[in-house]
């Protein structure tokens, strides 16, 4: 089996290496990918259109907002699918781990985490809100936020984390994120533009059209961040306990 599998792998490798000769040189500014009108349009006009310094955030949340919206939906659906697969699942080989509360959480670990978690959460808000002018944004801020809850679950136990962020609230928050994203899109549609055309929000916000796009992007990023936070924590909570939400690591 291993020997046979080498054949397609080597065939693919030879083809790809043969094709690699035609790729542009590394770092060539006139390469087709970099010289295309689309990317140069993004680089030159992002500042004029949206006043967002970080082009990646602008392209992610504004120019390609539709794409990002459904990526968020994919994350949400993956979280729901994990819940659907593992909830109440048991088989002949499922480990019937007895939940032992006799093991006290370590004092040093819990105290360190107690100090670290607020800092991590504030940092996640910073990453989310400052994503316009520095690397960051909804995805990264959401993942950092979810990691803080996972940290609580790792240092105490899962119940302690679930008291702070119950699983039903988790999916509520995740759905809320998508509703926020879609709601901003719909609102701009009702205000006379197209779906996710944030510039129309200037009609109700006391800012210019460019700054309306700037602020709508923040709202969209918050929506993405909420969904990603909730789903990352739900993934961990379900996977670490086989869907029983008891015990855990």
């Amino acid at each position: 089996m291993k020997k046979i599998s080498l054949i397609p792998v080597l065939v693919v490798g030879v083809l790809l290496l043969y094709a690699a000769d035609d790729f542009p040189e590394w770092g060539n500014p006139t390469a087709p990918a970099s010289a295309s009108s689309l990317s140069s349009h993004f680089i030159s006009n992002t500042g004029v259109d949206t006043e967002v310094p970080n082009m990646v955030t602008a392209v992610l949340a504004d120019y390609r907002g539709f794409d990002t919206m459904f990526e968020t939906v994919v994350v949400f659906i993956a979280g729901m699918a994990v819940l659907a697969i593992l909830k109440g699942s048991s088989g002949p080989f499922s480990k019937n781990k007895k939940y032992t509360s006799s093991i006290e959480p370590d004092l040093i670990v819990t105290n360190t985490v107690r100090l670290l978690v607020p800092v991590i959460q504030i940092f996640s808000f910073y990453v989310l809100a400052h994503g316009h002018v520095s690397p960051g944004g909804g995805f990264q801020g959401g993942v950092v936020m979810g990691a803080s809850f996972i940290m609580i679950a790792l240092s105490w136990d899962l119940e302690t984390a679930l008291v702070r962020f119950p699983l039903d609230k988790c999916f509520l928050v995740a759905a809320l994120g998508i509703i926020l994203y879609g709601g901003i899109g719909l609102l701009s549609m009702f205000l006379g533009g197209e779906f996710l055309d944030y510039a129309e929000l200037a009609n109700i916000l006391p800012v210019s059209r460019e700054m309306a796009r700037y602020h709508a992007m923040l709202g969209v990023e918050i929506g993405v961040g909420l969904t990603v936070t909730a789903i990352m924590f739900a993934l961990y909570a379900n996977l670490s306990t086989e869907g029983k939400l008891k015990g855990g690591l």
């Binding site: 490798g13 990646v56 994919v74 048991s90 080989f93």
Partner: protein
């Protein structure tokens, strides 16, 4: 050695990214195809994924370009650090202007970054989904090795067929096929626990009769699964505590399953015995029948 134009430079500096991306992609592909363990397959899939992301990012690199965030002089809000007095009057008049082509070359291409950023997040979501499926498979079959999984599924299919045949013979009434299936369904769900002793017998019989067909390594892994694993894991010092806990868990779980086996076996025992005898006779016939199903 690193001068422009030499073969070395051509190959290892300018195209090294592409070569490495191809190598990583092949490693991931080989892992996905050849590895037996499902978790290993998932790691291979992730390596494959990151290789493609590496390709996209390296296509969008510009030499001498900065990151795709506006420098203060191009930033629509960024000139506040420098001369406030000069700009205060003129700022409202001109506002931000579009960059011209020379300045565009100074920034990296943001488009591949955006595409790949979402790909990473969706990648971890699909990874979580795949891991959930792995756990479900383990709950049902007790293994995440592909070859063991396939043999177990094969055996289960073989087992489900004779049971249907026996059931139809046993039942005095003439039942429809539909009813038969509904009767045999709970049987299938409880079958893995009742199967195991039979499966062991089967494996031993296989080693006797057809060693040429079955790989010796696989038979070893099936028949002597528990012993070498325990000895191996205890030799490594750092994991000793973990492995002993899992070992104790395993040993504590074993009697439980054994008890449940005996309990579940108590009822279908009269049926199971003739099944085993009947199976030997029908096995050769069924072997030809099962692939069709």
């Amino acid at each position: 050695m690193f001068e422009d134009g030499t073969i070395f430079n051509e190959l290892f500096i300018e195209r090294l990214n592409y070569i490495i991306y191809v190598i990583l992609l092949l490693i991931g592909l080989h892992g996905m195809i050849a590895k037996n363990n499902l978790i290993k397959k998932l790691i291979g899939m992730s390596i494959f994924q990151t290789a493609i992301i590496l390709f996209y990012v390296s296509v969008g690199v510009k030499e001498g370009a900065t990151i795709p965030i506006y420098l203060p002089e191009h930033d629509p809000h960024g000139s506040h650090v420098t001369n406030l007095e000069e700009n205060s009057s003129s700022e409202e008049s001109h506002g931000p202007v579009a960059l011209d082509a020379d300045l565009v070359k100074g920034y990296a291409n943001p488009l591949p970054h955006v595409l790949m950023l979402t790909a990473i997040v969706v990648g971890v979501a699909t990874l979580g989904l795949a891991l959930a499926l792995c756990q479900k498979i383990y709950q049902g079959y007790g293994t995440i090795e592909e070859d063991e999984l396939l043999t177990k599924i094969e055996r289960q299919e073989m087992r489900s067929n004779p049971s249907v045949a026996i059931k139809s013979m046993d039942s005095s009434k003439m039942t429809t096929v539909k009813l038969e299936k509904s009767v045999s369904k709970p049987k299938v769900s409880s079958s893995p626990s009742t199967q195991r002793p039979n499966a062991k017998l089967k494996a031993e019989a296989k080693t006797d009769s057809s060693t040429t067909k079955v790989k010796t390594s696989r038979v070893k892994s099936v028949s002597s699964k528990t012993k070498p694993m325990a000895s191996k894991s205890t030799t490594t010092g750092s994991r000793a505590s973990k492995s002993t806990t899992t070992g104790s868990r395993k040993s504590s779980a074993k009697p439980n399953t054994a008890a449940s086996q005996s309990r579940t076996k108590a009822k279908p025992k009269p049926k199971a015995k003739p099944k085993a005898s009947a199976q030997k006779t029908t096995a050769s016939k069924l072997k030809s029948r099962t692939p069709k199903k």
